[in-house]
């Protein structure tokens, strides 16, 4: 045993802890009793907490606690409450016409907010988070629409999709002229160059424009129209504008003409409720590409 009488500080008369740094000794200043009691109480509280609330991770699950509390159940309750609070407004979305929604700033804001989240969850994988699209997936911000860009047309496309198998879906596809043996290789090259010329793109040296026009009139005009302005009934794109879903370079065009195209847009009816589909239509229209 050490002799602790030497551990008394002569100035204050208090005992020291016996620790010494550079000749400075640490006084042993005891904590107030209430402080220590509070500290022990927090330990007791913590033990109670372990028992009462879910706390311990087990191999398969976790202890559930005496109260049966779960934050997941809390979230469910709060979400239900939120739906209730929003009920009136969402109901208004359900009854108002698409045009009315766009004219009412409050409804427009609500539809855009709702539409944006739903778009992010369901549409973004193909069309991108801001609807920017990608090769084969239309950019929803521009003004070029295969199946029409009015509010009603957008809504219809979302509801039933394109080539989705739904009874009311948009039908029509780009035929595979090469694969099916309708056009020969050099004819495809010629008509591809002709199509490029329609929107002011450069053409291959010495290509036969008259021949291209003839091939187009005989094979393509049925869908794309004589002036190649497209046909939204059949989802046939306008070939005179500057927007190309599958690319405008010669190689891409040759591929499109010889292999055909038939992109699929799923139908959302049945998967999303009508008010939500409406909100999404308004959102997509307000991206700026609507007509």
């Amino acid at each position: 045993m050490t002799d602790h009488s030497s551990d008394i500080d002569s100035v204050s008369g208090k005992s020291t802890t016996g620790h010494e740094w550079d000749g400075i000794k640490e006084l042993n200043t005891p904590l107030p009793r209430w402080w220590v009691i509070c500290f022990y109480l927090t330990i007791v509280w913590a033990i109670g907490y372990w028992i009462v609330y879910p706390a311990w991770p087990l191999i398969q699950s976790n202890t559930t606690g005496l109260f049966g509390y779960s934050s997941r159940a809390d979230v469910a309750v709060e979400l239900a409450n939120l739906e209730k609070i929003r009920g009136d407004k969402m109901a208004a979305l359900g009854t108002a016409s698409l045009v009315d929604i766009e004219k009412d700033p409050a409804l427009l804001a609500l539809a855009r907010a709702k539409g944006k989240t739903v778009f992010g969850d369901n549409c973004a994988p193909c069309h991108g988070s801001g609807g920017a699209g990608a090769k084969g997936y239309p950019n929803l911000n521009d003004d070029d629409w295969l199946w029409g860009g009015t509010l009603d047309q957008i809504m219809q496309t979302i509801q039933f999709g394109a080539r989705s198998g739904h009874t009311k879906t948009h039908e029509g596809q780009m035929l595979a002229f090469g694969k099916d043996g309708v056009l020969k290789g050099d004819e495809i090259v010629t008509v591809a160059n002709y199509v490029r010329s329609l929107s002011g793109l450069s053409t291959r040296n010495g290509y036969d424009a008259a021949k291209g026009q003839k091939i187009f009139a005989e094979n393509c005009a049925a869908c794309h129209g004589d002036a190649a302005k497209g046909n939204q009934e059949m989802g046939a794109p306008d070939l005179t504008d500057k927007i190309w879903l599958y690319g405008s370079d010669e190689a891409s065009l040759i591929e499109t003409i010889s292999q055909g195209r038939a992109g699929v847009m799923p139908a959302w009816e049945g998967r999303l409720d009508p008010a939500t589909i409406k909100a999404m239509a308004v959102y997509v229209h307000s991206l700026g590409g609507g007509k």
Partner: protein, 488 residues
């Protein structure tokens, strides 16, 4: 000074002394003097402001709250006399916190823990509770006697205790009540509170603050300053040798002797100290320490011991300020027989003052020039630019308009981007070409989707700036923001 203590008296376990100690109740004696008067004054001022400020009215016009100081949480507004702050302007609170922190540093570099001794709410309320206690149970000596008395409780004593706690609880309850008034229209809330119509949360907060006030000021008192508050430790690391701390001048006080003995010794021409060892300075100390032991962490620089000792010195005809605000440097200078020096203006205080002035100045300037119409612009990220079928390029922006005024505003939006570009706001039919107009309700924000389109023959190079101007058609007030127009 050199008391010897038997370690057995201190030790409760085999090692190094007690692990904990029961609180030693402090019985501060009443005192009168300069610093006590300052403390009374400041207490009256602080409590007066706290309790009555919510009732001060301020006319902000119809539909706006007429309370001078109001924290309107449901509507996310903060009102302070002529100032109205929006959530977007929380940086004012950052500025306020910086000023408050540096002001605390400045006080510390001038007078140590004077914040603690004079202005800290813990001190102010504890002081008030002590005053009540003294009024009902008597001064130090009586209170000690009553607490130590083993007499069976007499009716008189019981009624004293009940009265004291009732008044304490009343003060505590009023403290909690005043708190909630800052969050709602005070007169209305008072009416609701007494008729039990007020929201539950108000009663809960009153309950919480009543409890904390009662416990902290009635029971924990100096223990809060010594064991809970971090400031004593922080300030100890910030202070310097020039800071004025309450100091016992042992060069003048030692050796301590009785009045009589001192007179005798002086008559013999011997050197004696002025301290008569009357323990008055200890008796009045609210933290229960003996300042003659030198600077101590517990001391809150309240100056009450100065008043106590000054009274003694006056009585025995010796000069005052045997205990006084003094700095570390002078302790050593006195020992060497040199004259004391004081320096309030020095690098530290100048820097702190400059920071306070700079931050305060910026805040006042921005508040004075704060606009009631604001515009924030956010460029679409995905896609940044869109090519349209005719080859023109379009960029989309989310524009947030803030109308902080008390009236609806008709706003025209211009976007000066690429030459010949057009502007369109989704959901708005422009009356004038390229100048959409929209009404923003008073005290509200509007978020718009705005499209700027540059014609095909005028596609700009890469990126050029676009200047957005929103104009209040009625008043001609303009707010602006700048972003970029990007070409793919």
């Amino acid at each position: 000074m050199n008391k010897t203590v038997n370690p057995k008296d201190l030790t409760t376990d085999d090692d190094y002394g007690p692990l904990y100690a029961a609180r030693k109740k402090v019985y501060p004696q009443s005192v009168s003097g300069t610093f006590r008067r300052i403390k009374w004054g400041l207490m009256a001022f602080c409590l007066g402001v706290y309790y009555f400020l919510p009732f001060v009215r301020w006319n902000r016009g119809l539909g706006a709250p007429s309370q001078a100081v109001l924290i309107d949480l449901p509507n996310s507004r903060f009102y302070f006399f002529f100032i109205e702050l929006w959530p977007q302007e929380v940086y004012y609170f950052t500025g306020l916190l910086i000023v408050a922190a540096v002001a605390l540093f400045l006080m510390n570099s001038i007078g140590g823990r004077i914040w603690c001794g004079y202005l800290c709410p813990q001190t102010v309320w504890t002081d008030l509770f002590y005053a009540v206690e003294r009024l009902i149970e008597g001064d130090r000596r009586e209170r000690m006697k009553k607490d130590a008395s083993s007499d069976p409780m007499k009716l008189e004593r019981i009624s004293e205790i009940v009265l004291k706690h009732s008044i304490w609880l009343l003060i505590a309850w009023w403290t909690g009540g005043a708190w909630v008034l800052y969050f709602n229209d005070a007169p209305t809330l008072v009416k609701e509170l007494v008729t039990f119509q007020a929201p539950m949360i108000a009663y809960i907060w009153i309950g919480i603050l009543t409890a904390t006030t009662y416990i902290l000021a009635g029971y924990m008192r100096e223990q809060v300053c010594t064991y809970i508050c971090p400031w004593p430790r922080i300030q100890a690391a910030l202070t310097d040798e020039w800071a004025l701390n309450v100091t016992y001048r042992y060069d003048r006080g030692e050796k301590r002797t009785s009045v009589k003995k001192a007179a005798e010794l002086r008559a013999l021409g011997q050197q004696v100290g002025d301290c008569v060892d009357c323990y008055q300075c200890v008796a009045v100390c609210p933290t229960g320490i003996d300042i003659r032991n030198g600077p101590q962490m517990e001391c809150i620089q309240c100056g009450l011991c100065i008043d106590a000792c000054d009274n003694v010195m006056t009585k025995i005809g010796r000069p005052k300020r045997l205990i006084g605000y003094d700095n570390d440097i002078n302790i050593h200078r006195r020992q060497e027989g040199k004259a004391p020096i004081y320096r309030i203006v020095r690098a530290r205080t100048v820097v702190y003052s400059a920071i306070i002035a700079a931050v305060g100045g910026i805040m006042i300037y921005t508040l004075a020039t704060r606009s009631l119409l604001d515009v924030n612009v956010l460029h679409d990220r995905n896609p940044v630019a869109v090519k349209l079928s005719d080859g023109s390029i379009r960029n989309a922006y989310t524009v947030r308009l803030l109308n902080k005024s008390g009236y609806d505003r008709l706003i025209a939006i211009d976007a000066n981007g690429p030459v010949n570009s057009t502007v369109h706001v989704v959901g708005v039919d422009s009356v004038t070409p390229d100048r959409p107009m929209i009404v923003i309700p008073r005290d509200a924000t509007s978020e718009l989707r705005l499209l700027v389109t540059a014609p095909a023959d005028n596609n700009p190079e890469k990126s050029i700036p676009v200047h957005f101007h929103v104009t209040d058609i009625g008043l001609g007030v303009v707010a602006s923001a700048t972003d970029n127009f990007v070409s793919p």
